[in-house]
């Protein structure tokens, strides 16, 4: 077992033990904080499938997060107002059931990722960064102008959606759901990285010419990775909306897209648990430095600058040593 695997297991144990302790000590706020960290981790794990393996620096992943959020918001909004979503050609009702909402969130964000990917993956490098950023802004402005669903003010969902067999209003139960989703996504990510698809995608990042020479199409590999990546980030968006019981255009904001990348880098690029460590550290810092100084973004910015300029490899690189030759 490598040091990285040990460290990952320790992180996972912490994510199980800490909220359980908070539950026993009756500190619901700590559980909410942990839920937030886990959901943001999930969003960044989604991005990491495109960025970590495929080298696709998407600065627009908040699009999928927002679409997931709005999928939840729209379905629950129609359900709470007893208003069908669509009557012709066939009736679609709103719903308060999490599994259905998740399905809608995953499908909608995967479709969006497919379309955005088809357009933006025609380019690479700095063009790709700018184009994904621009599409993010497009969705942001669209959400603002979409007054049927709250426009700029967003919309509130009064009661958290339900999951069969669980009471999602109990913080620890909702946390368990989110953690389960994260663990599943991490398992999927690990399996994907080792699969033939993952190896080909990794090769397409390093030497696209050789991949093309053996008869694979880098564009299609990247498009599939980008679509899967968007779908997982979309699922995180639906959970995030359920955590806050509120969706607004800020879920599409480009700052959020930037933060997702930041999570991955703080944790360690091309590490399975990189996004998890980064997101948890971010939430902890936001809570503690934010409580101590109103201007916590300055300190966070300086920390980030330090990590980018001097501390390559992120937190996991610091603790577990250098990454294997291919991550």
């Amino acid at each position: 077992m490598t040091r990285e695997t040990l460290f990952n297991l320790a992180v996972l144990a912490g994510l199980v033990a800490l909220p359980l302790y908070a539950h026993l000590a009756d500190e619901p706020f700590t559980i909410t904080l942990a839920t937030r960290a886990v959901i943001l981790s999930l969003a960044a794990v989604g991005l990491n499938m495109a960025l970590g393996i495929g080298g696709l620096v998407s600065l627009g992943h908040a699009v999928f997060f927002g679409i997931g959020g709005y999928a939840m918001g729209i379905l629950a909004f129609h359900a709470q107002n007893y208003m069908p979503l669509m009557e012709t050609p066939f009736l679609i009702e709103g719903t308060k059931s999490m599994p259905l909402i998740w399905l809608a969130a995953v499908v909608a964000s995967a479709l969006a990722a497919l379309v955005i990917g088809l357009l933006s993956l025609r380019t690479s490098g700095v063009y790709f960064i700018m184009i994904t950023l621009a599409f993010g802004q497009m969705f942001y402005y669209f959400a603002i102008s979409w007054s049927a669903y709250g426009g700029e003010d967003g919309m509130s969902i009064y009661v958290r959606n339900g999951f069969p067999g669980l009471n999602t209003l109990v913080p620890i139960q909702f946390y368990g759901l989110c953690l389960a989703a994260l663990v599943l996504a991490l398992g999927f990510n690990g399996a994907l990285a080792r699969s033939r698809f993952g190896l080909a995608l990794n090769a397409a990042r390093q030497v696209p010419e050789r991949v093309r020479a053996v008869g694979l199409d880098p564009f299609r590999l990247r498009l599939v990775a980008f679509t899967i990546s968007g779908a997982i980030t979309g699922l995180a968006g639906a959970l995030f909306a359920d955590l806050n019981r509120f969706v607004s255009p800020t879920m599409f904001s480009w700052q959020l897209s930037g933060e997702f990348i930041v999570f991955i880098i703080i944790g360690g690029t091309a590490r399975l648990f990189g996004p998890v460590v980064g997101a948890c550290l971010f939430v902890v810092l936001e809570h503690y430095i934010g409580g101590w100084s109103d201007y916590w973004h300055i300190w966070f910015g300086l920390l980030l600058l330090g990590i980018v300029l001097f501390g390559r490899g992120g937190v996991i690189g610091l603790i577990a040593g250098k990454a294997r030759a291919h991550g």
Partner: protein, 306 residues
């Protein structure tokens, strides 16, 4: 729908396009020569606006405000080039994105620390306020007209600088082969700092000029930054000519779209629904424009390389 309205909106689009050009020119120059993607360019726009508002409030002179904007933004640009940006030229785009994202956080939060969260106001100078009558009897704000002319003058100056001067030769040579011009005795470090400061000064100037018709506040730079990205993606990264054409296209599409799309939809829809659909579509118009250009030419209208 009168000709006057159409012309007026056309001029508005021209004005916002030409201001966008000032932003996009710096970005595209910095990318073309140094290969750097700079997210903090919007922060330099904000720095220019705040310098102008502070100096104009202290001295009562708009001209001194503009000087302060140019000087302040150029100084901030040179400073971050020397301290941070210089270390990023050899790094991949991911590191550049992150480091300049960190700079945005520091600049925005630092400005909020010093000036507070409330917007500052920068007044249009007395001599340029009020409308002017154009040929054809159209009333148009003199200040906006001045912006168009000033922006065009800067654009001409920039083209002249790059095409006709010694420093312009070095900039163009730097785009092609940095080792070669370093070997020929050009101080490449100084050239890079100069280009970065030049781009920063252009962004600061745009911030100050636009700041007088909008409010000067923290976070004003980022929407413009993203528009500038759309502009240079359309025009082709690294091309100043592309930046000009792209900026005018984006400025006109954005302005004309938000006025005329709702009107267009009213022709065949109920007024409320038309306003709604038109507003939604016009907020997306420039991105649709970008997507169309990308399908047609993935490297932009004037871009040579991917």
């Amino acid at each position: 729908m009168t000709t006057t309205l159409i012309l007026e909106q056309f001029l508005n689009g021209l004005q916002s396009g030409i201001m966008l050009f000032l932003m996009a020119a710096g970005l595209t120059l910095i990318f073309g020569v140094m290969g750097l993607i700079n997210l903090a360019h919007g922060s330099l726009y904000m720095v220019g606006a705040f310098c102008a508002a502070t100096a104009a409030a202290a001295t009562g002179s708009f001209a001194l405000g503009l000087v302060a904007a140019l000087a302040g933004a150029a100084a901030a640009g040179a400073l971050i080039e020397l301290v941070v940006i210089r270390r990023l030229y050899d790094r991949d785009h991911l590191d550049q994105v992150l480091a300049t994202f960190a700079l945005i956080l520091i600049f925005s939060e630092g400005t909020r620390w010093v000036f507070g969260s409330f917007p500052l106001y920068l007044d249009v100078p007395e001599a340029l306020s009020g409308p002017v009558t154009l040929p054809g009897g159209i009333q148009y704000p003199l200040y906006r007209l001045t912006l168009i002319l000033a922006g065009l003058a800067v654009a001409v100056g920039l083209f002249w600088l790059i095409a006709r001067t010694r420093i312009g030769v070095q900039i163009r040579a730097g785009e092609n082969d940095r080792e070669m011009i370093a070997a020929l005795g050009v101080d490449i470090d100084r050239l890079y700092t100069f280009i970065f400061a030049l781009g920063a000064a252009l962004a600061g100037l745009a911030g100050a000029l636009v700041g007088a018709i909008q409010s000067v506040q923290v976070g004003m730079g980022e929407p413009v930054l993203i528009l500038a990205f759309v502009t240079i993606v359309i025009g082709g990264i690294g091309s100043i000519k592309g930046a000009l054409v792209g900026a005018l296209l984006v400025g006109l599409t954005d302005t004309l779209g938000s006025v005329f799309l709702p009107e267009l939809f009213k022709l065949f829809m109920a007024p409320a629904a038309a306003t709604q659909t038109g507003a939604s579509l016009s907020s997306m118009a420039i991105y649709i424009l970008m997507a169309v250009v990308l399908i047609w030419r993935p490297t932009g209208l004037f871009g040579a390389r991917a």
